[in-house]
């Protein structure tokens, strides 16, 4: 019996230990992996005295699952466009008081009031980018200008595709001349057939590994995000990035506050801080994705004018993904079929 009492006492001690801790003001930030410049959080903590608990996710869907299914309250999230649209529709986001975001005017007007948040009440753009083809100049006969290059038989086993259903199906729809938000069964089926047709040419289906592989000269062509292309080009000068003429996807990762946040004021301070030109420049410079703030770009020098990260977006037919709502199923089933066929 003594042992049992000792056990209970131990448990009680542990619990009381866990209960006490730092009583500074805190915020919980949930961002993509490797998506902030090192040191930025320290700077924020120093300047405001607010402690930041920083966690990372790998995909929008991972983040969504966690927000939806756990009681774990975050104060700042940085999801992408279509996910923001979905979360607004599901009442998962709180309105941001833009009066508290003093640096909001540093964000260029063209990146405000976008389709996923038309009145710009729930999100403040953090970064944006395009999707395109990264190619190795020494391994292609001519610079690709069309998505067709990814279906070109001469590049068999030299093509890397993105293992992400929305992106892969999206660019295929674009290649076929459809909208990447289509829900037409015939168009989606055509995209599926096209991706199955492409299967024998593809060397690998990856997401993050694409960077290592392209830098190492493993393949001639890869479907990538512009931000990753910026990084790869820096490591291997043989690489070049192009947005195909058929048009592509433009995406936004924006800062949001979840509806069940615990420190909204702190969250707004953090968002404001991230919009400050010097901080935005530091972040964009480190992660390679494009900054929506002209003031920040001007601080970045040459990198702020890199055509890979900052193409003339009016020249291309670029679409933002819209939330599929309950139609996600159609894409899922399509994608399951495509990945099942692989290597069979």
């Amino acid at each position: 019996m003594k042992k049992l009492i000792a056990l209970i006492l131990c448990a009680a001690m542990l619990l009381s230990l866990a209960a006490c801790g730092d009583d500074r003001e805190t915020i919980k930030v949930y961002n993509w992996g490797d998506y902030i410049a090192p040191g930025v959080i320290d700077k924020f903590e120093e300047e405001t005295g607010i402690r930041v608990i920083y966690e990372m996710f790998e995909t929008n869907e991972d983040m969504y699952t966690k927000i939806k299914n756990s009681n774990n309250a975050y104060d700042v999230l940085i999801p992408s466009d279509y996910m923001i649209e979905r979360m607004i529709a599901e009442n998962l986001l709180a309105e941001i008081d833009m009066a508290n975001i003093t640096n909001y005017d540093k964000i260029d007007a063209e990146y405000k009031n976008l389709s996923f948040d038309p009145e710009n009440k729930y999100s403040v753009p953090y970064t944006w980018g395009t999707v395109g083809i990264l190619y190795n100049k020494t391994m292609v006969n001519e610079a690709p200008t069309s998505w067709g290059a990814l279906w070109d038989g001469q590049y068999k086993d030299n093509i890397i595709m993105m293992n992400s259903q929305r992106d892969a199906i999206g660019i295929t729809l674009k290649y076929l001349g459809y909208s990447l938000n289509t829900l037409e069964a015939a168009e989606l089926n055509a995209a599926k057939e096209k991706l199955i047709e492409q299967e024998p040419l593809v060397l690998a289906w990856v997401v993050d590994e694409v960077k290592d592989k392209m830098i190492g000269g493993e393949a001639a062509l890869a479907l990538v995000y512009a931000g990753d292309a910026v990084y790869c080009k820096g490591e291997n000068p043989d690489l070049e990035y192009v947005i195909p003429s058929e048009g592509s996807n433009i995406f936004f990762d924006s800062m949001c506050i979840p509806a069940n946040c615990e420190n909204k004021a702190g969250a707004e301070k953090f968002i404001d801080f991230m919009c400050r030109p010097d901080i935005a420049a530091e972040n964009a410079g480190y992660i390679g994705y494009s900054s929506p703030s002209k003031a920040a770009r001007e601080l970045m020098g040459e990198a702020g004018e890199d055509p890979t990260a900052y193409p003339d977006i009016t020249k291309y037919d670029l679409e933002i993904f819209s939330s599929l709502g309950d139609k996600t199923k159609i894409y899922d089933e399509l994608w399951t079929e495509i990945i099942t066929v692989r290597g069979m």
């Binding site: 869907e61 590994e209 899922d332």
Partner: protein
Amino acid sequence: MKKNLCLIPLYVWSAVFIVFPLLIVLYYAFTRDASSGMSLSFESFSRLADPMYLGVILRSFKIAVIATLVCILCGYPAAYILARSNSRSKFIIVILMLLPMWMNFLLRTYSWLTLLEKSGLINSFLSLFGVDPIIFLGTEGAVVLGTVYNYLPFMIMPIYITLLKLDQSHLDAAADLGANPFQVFMKVTLPFSVPGVLSGVSMVFVPSVTTFVISQIMGSGNVTLIGDIIEKQYRVVNDWHFGSALSVVIMIIVLAFMYFINRGDVEANNGNGGRLLR
């Protein structure tokens, strides 16, 4: 009283981390989202009738069976040699064998990419002799290799431990009674080590069937296994019901498999073998 108290942590652990999660999986498998919360439904299971999923399940089992067989073929001789060698080098070999296990599983698997990529070490070496790059990755063979590499020690160790317990006098007796070395092996050593092989099989086969990391890394996303489909249901599609139904089906198949393994184990024990690691 004392004995029961000691068992409490075990019961609590099992309840919280094994039984309860299993119940949740079962709950999700047999329900569907309905307008009013959840409703009982077999929809997830009826979706499984699609031959597409059957194909993936078959492929997963095919790869797991091949990997397990390769593990036996490589692991048995290794365990045998190890068990028979003298004590000093034995320790070093065991350490060498376990050394990679101290490294992170992902790192271990990723390192194969450096070797097998088109621009990897092996192809770079071959290119010195004018050989065109060979594409190793992205094939079922590569997934089998990754599986064997990661799980081989789980095959070797149980066999090794069983063989250690084999008394030299049994072998001497068999030899004295006129058995040649091959007969000694077939009639004494092999039957004695069956329990080790069987526990090795279950430790290799079960994780092989459900792996998704190995197939994603070594298969370059080209070889979809049932684990990939289940993972996708939870992480991308957010359809926990279908993911759970798939898991339940795999669990039933694996349970059936374990039942036969265990029966074999019991039969072997009726002979002379020792039981271990179950």
